[in-house]
Symmetry: D3
Subunit: 69 residues, 6 copies
């Protein structure tokens, strides 16, 4: 009875993409560990860009530093 | 000083129901483990139906499969 | 299909107490929100005292500050 | 930069199976959302059977109820 | 590659304050443990007041009990 | 009443370093948001290297790929 939590930045992820994540993770747990899909939970959290930090900066500012040549 | 996180699907849970969850969990931790309510945190997360998967499907689609005779 | 995570300090919690927490939380979610126990997950994490901070100190040191008259 | 947390019961999962979970989830996020593996974190938590509840019971007791004819 | 999750009540936290939290936590992990900022994630969750309980009550009600002389 | 969870790889972190993390995060929340230390929780989780993935690999294998000239 696995519980999987996927946190991603909120950037226009579609319902179809979410369904694909849910199906893919559930299939993976069945294949690798034999877990039953009926008791496999997948919870997706979209996190606003200003709430996700990397490199000591909010994501959008961090990305700008990577674009610099 | 317990920390309890309750994740449920977002389906019209009322403020009164949330208060009942907070009180119920806090009372339980006091009764079973003697934990002080003053340092017991309860955080409720409502998760959109499209963000919760079970059986390899988003919740709403999964429920449809259960209704089939 | 709720998911509940209970974090408590590791201080000799017994199997019976854990069972009481699992049953209590599951019953609460059924009573308040009508959630089915068959799809209610409860995960308990015991956290070592040195890994839990409050008041800017590890729990054990914090408790000593409270004992001071 | 996704963060994925996989919680499973502690029941003899091997290092190879863990590697397969890490690779599978990372590949999935690349395929579905185009996320870079270099900033995709996967954290696996194995949870002791007595710490995981379903149906209002610790997992092992719950499974016994399912075996009854 | 640390992952830090900060949960706070939703009460008008500004973008600048969020940036200060992200920078502060990332710097701390570098200073104390030598962790690289490039692989340090910080995720902030603002939680609605009605979804956060302490003392067996939602935060706002709890605060009223503290104001009583 | 913030709740902060710090996840790091298990690689010989000392009690003093943990205390420094707890103090640093609690001070930061007080300075930036005026949060009271008495209701600020910090929970540290050390994660075994085989349970943390990045780049589609467990941490130790991933690090080997970085060492290659």
């Amino acid at each position: 009875m696995p519980y999987v939590n996927i946190k991603i930045t909120r950037e226009g992820v579609t319902q179809d993409q979410k369904s694909a994540l849910i199906k893919g993770v559930t299939d993976l747990l069945k294949e690798v560990l034999g877990k039953s899909p009926a008791t496999t939970f997948v919870v997706i959290n979209e996190v606003d860009l200003e709430d996700w930090g990397i490199g000591g900066l909010p994501v959008e500012e961090y990305r700008k530093t990577l674009d610099k040549p």
